[in-house]
């Protein structure tokens, strides 16, 4: 299955995406840092377990779960959060405060909220750029048999972290405007 990422529509008030106006390298560095901070904040405060930096730049593998949320307005694109099944279940269990195995519904719910909060926190950190940027309702895909293809002329930011020794990663695909 192919998953084509597309969030090209103008945002509230007809704002066009601003990415094309921004310096590419500096923006990439700033967004990477902001995304890392956003993920750290969400995991510390809402999951209760911090993320760790990886010893090396581990390339993303296949994920069992992919949570996605769309951005539209000053920035247009999709933020995704991906992880394996045991990690997803562990995150959901911690968020629920339960030692019992989380249901599939709770896992999807938890990952959607993680993605939603990371996107919100990311937006807050770049509010000078993304003041008029709306978030969609999150959605979660389970299964590994797909690949994600960003659209041309966009910017892809990828941040990988370790959660209790397991890889989690976030990808921000922004449309070029």
């Amino acid at each position: 299955m192919q998953l084509i990422i597309s969030a090209k529509s103008s945002g509230p008030g007809g704002n066009a995406c601003k990415l094309a106006e921004l310096p590419r390298v500096e923006t990439g560095q700033r967004f990477t840092e902001a995304l890392g901070h956003a993920a750290a904040e969400v995991f510390e405060m809402m999951v209760g377990t911090p993320l760790s930096l990886l010893d090396q730049d581990t390339p993303p593998g296949f994920a069992d779960y992919t949570a996605m949320i769309g951005l539209a307005g000053d920035l247009c694109g999709v933020l995704s959060f991906r992880c394996g099944n045991p990690t997803a279940a562990r995150i959901a269990g911690l968020m629920l405060g339960s030692t019992e195995a989380a249901s599939a519904e709770s896992i999807r719910d938890a990952l959607g909220e993680i993605c939603n909060m990371v996107a919100g926190s990311f937006k807050a950190q770049i509010s000078d750029i993304a003041a008029q940027c709306m978030l969609s309702v999150p959605m979660v895909v389970s299964g590994k048999d797909y690949e994600m293809y960003p659209l041309a002329d966009g910017l892809r930011i990828q941040v990988s972290r370790s959660f209790e020794g397991a890889l989690v990663w976030m990808t921000l695909d922004l449309h070029g405007g």
Binding site: M95, D109, A110, G120, A124
Partner: protein
């Protein structure tokens, strides 16, 4: 501290649990928690029940939080009940929209129990 009955409105059941837990960790004496997954359910609940505090997210598929705040103004049981928005949308424009629609407070997700305490307790004491 006064015993409290609260209504938590969020389309995420996981988030409703987190809000509930955070309120208790913040030291609030909660005796009863009602949950609603959208504005329609919340309105129906408030037709039947009186609570001391309502916490609602904003962004959800069925009747968003701002519309709920507006519609609650016509519900007798909701009169005088502080409504606090709990949301990822924390830009200035969103805060202004929420407060001007009738919400009394605003908490950005992610949050800590300390942040909940800081925002909620003054409201319950009528200080804001």
């Amino acid at each position: 501290m006064k015993e409290l009955r609260i209504l938590i409105v969020d389309d995420s059941s996981v988030m409703r649990k987190i809000v509930d837990r955070s309120l208790r960790q913040a030291g609030l004496n909660i005796t009863e928690v009602f949950e609603a997954s959208n504005g329609v359910e919340a309105l129906a609940r408030m037709q039947q029940t009186r609570v001391d505090l309502i916490l609602s997210d904003i962004n959800r598929p069925t009747m968003d939080g701002l519309e709920l705040v507006k519609q609650l103004q016509a519900v007798e049981n909701a009169k005088g009940v502080p409504i606090v928005m709990v949301t990822t949308e924390a830009g200035e424009a969103h805060v202004v929209r929420a407060l001007s629609s009738g919400a009394r407070g605003y908490i950005r997700k992610p949050f800590s129990p300390d942040q909940i305490k800081e925002r909620i307790i003054p409201l319950l004491q009528g200080k804001k």
